[in-house]
Amino acid sequence: MENAEIVLQIEGLTKIYRSLFTPVGVRAVDNLSLAIRRGETYSMVGPNGSGKTTTLKILLGLIFPTRGTTSIFGKSISDLSVRERIGFLPEDAYLYDCFNGEELLDFYAGLFGYSKKTRAELTEELLTLVGMQANRRVPFRECSKGMRQRLALAQALVNDPELLILDEPTSGLDPAGRHQMTRLILELKRRGKTILLCSHFLAEVEEVCDRVGILYSGRLVAEGTLSELAGEPTEVLITTSKLEAHVAERVAQHPAVLNVEDETVRMGRAEESQVWAVLQAIHDAGGQILEIRRPRPTLQDVFVREIGEVRE
């Protein structure tokens, strides 16, 4: 993927909001640079006010940068041909509530100048994809949050976009709705779409994204693949059957073991031979080994660590 074409590029992007009361301005985005390659799923994560939505709005040409440049497919967003190749799912599914699902998709497809026949085919296909065929005639204002989000995703797909920009696609959804939306994003990823995702739900980001950028106070504080950000596993966890006290004490005396708690033996960054030695000791003492794990830090751990470091 490293040699793949760059689909979206941001260079030195800065956005300062100034008003009568804040002449110095509030720096929403600060010298942000990043690039997303074709077929990649990239996620911008960060606490509220970290500049994610501002960046998306600049990318879409809804607001204008104070400094820096953005380009999609090597062109400015003001170029209509760019907007013909992207899809955008806004946060909280802000769509026209005078329409039902079918009319909404027909309306948005119409903005691409598609014929009536094409619009009808697209509507059918997208309603099926997002599982809204049965509720196609429910007015948008009467739709549940989950149905709204699915319709919002469907409208973002009317032009079969190469690049999808998703702003908090699972915000406000219940666990079942979140799971469904995550499945849909994975399906789109499987179809080769390039995806830029902003989300607060780090577990979902972890599940779908190839690379993550962590934003804080408008700045990109960390970026990379999940394994790059998480680093190498730092410990080994051995789950055993209940160990008798004297056995647990003997295992705990092993130099590579950090501690023994209940049925878990925790080791530091141990060599394979050391792990084998501890396993042998447990076995010899009559303990039963149930599981051996080398857990990586989760995105949540990385996020807390990175944000904590910047705050300090």
Partner: protein, 298 residues
């Protein structure tokens, strides 16, 4: 001469239509992309207005108002016709303007406030297409309202004509031609005012837009008075009044109520001049609105 004055607007329309058709090679490709987008946005504007049901409520209210004078007693059928026409056209104008103000002032700010504009502008839609679509939508809404209200007024006049027709000394004149012309001119005034309100709404808050619209309506409807006031003033207030007099559309020029209700001969030529001026004015106003909206952060 009256025949000629009636022919002039028709000839004008033919000339404009001919020019438009003959020059289609120049403008058709340029707006080929814009038209479907403008039309789609106009349609969603109409759909949103329909859902709010304010329009339907106003139409019912105006229908009641238009029918109510038929229950009053009058000194003569002539007086009756005069009152019905004058009152009916006044009701159409007042309610039309109130609706124009409240429909147009909210069109763009509402889209920004509810953030529905995000998904639209992320599609291949230029900002000027969005503004024009909103304007066209407002024109359709107002067109339907004025048409329905005029239809009700015509119905009232025709029914009243039938009722009093057999009475001795009946001189009831529904004066339908001039009434329709006056209503059409009324619609043109609304179209001009709507354009200006949309321009203001691209830069000002909704409250500011509504207040400005009422001020413009007041100034535009009393241009003669306003001009006299400006002439009598001095210094900065004179300059300010003259600037306002110049930039505010001359809605007075679209008002043919007096001619229609007093059975005077209609000056179709001045009506046509007002329409042409209105088209030019609205074109400039929408151009500026599109430029402002183009730079607006949403």
């Amino acid at each position: 001469m009256p025949v000629l004055s009636r022919l002039i607007p028709v000839l004008g329309v033919i000339v404009v239509a001919t020019v438009v058709v003959l020059t289609r090679g120049a403008w058709l490709p340029a707006i080929g992309h814009a038209l479907p987008a403008i039309w789609r946005i106009a349609k969603v504007t109409v759909a949103e207005a329909r859902r709010r049901r304010v329009v339907q409520a106003v139409i019912i209210l105006v229908a009641v108002i238009l029918f109510s004078p038929t229950f009053f007693s009058y000194r003569s059928p002539y007086e009756q016709a005069r009152t019905l026409i004058s009152g009916g056209l006044a009701a159409i104008m007042v309610f039309g303007i109130l609706l124009a103000i409240f429909v147009a002032a909210f069109l763009i700010p509402h889209e920004i406030e509810t953030r529905t504009v995000y998904a639209v502008l992320a599609k291949p839609v230029r900002r000027f297409e969005f503004v024009l679509g909103k304007y066209l939508g407002a024109l359709i809404i107002l067109g339907v309202i004025v048409a329905v209200m005029t239809g009700v007024l015509v119905l009232v006049l025709v029914l009243q004509d039938k009722i009093v027709h057999d009475l001795p000394d009946s001189a009831f004149n529904p004066n339908l031609g001039p009434v329709l012309f006056a209503a059409a001119m009324n619609y043109c005034a609304l179209a001009v005012l709507t354009g200006l309100i949309i321009l203001i709404s691209t830069v000002a808050s909704t409250t500011m837009t509504v207040v400005s619209a009422f001020i413009i309506w007041a100034i535009g409807s009393g241009q003669t008075f306003f001009h006299d006031l400006a002439e009598r003033a001095s210094g900065a207030s004179r300059v300010l009044l003259l600037v306002l007099y110049t930039i505010v559309p001359k809605l007075e020029n679209f008002d043919f109520r007096n001619e229609a209700s007093n059975f005077m001969s209609m000056s179709y030529v001045s009506g046509w001049h007002a329409v042409l001026q209105g088209i030019g004015y609205t074109f400039v106003v929408l151009l500026v609105a599109a430029l402002f909206f183009n730079d607006r952060q949403v």
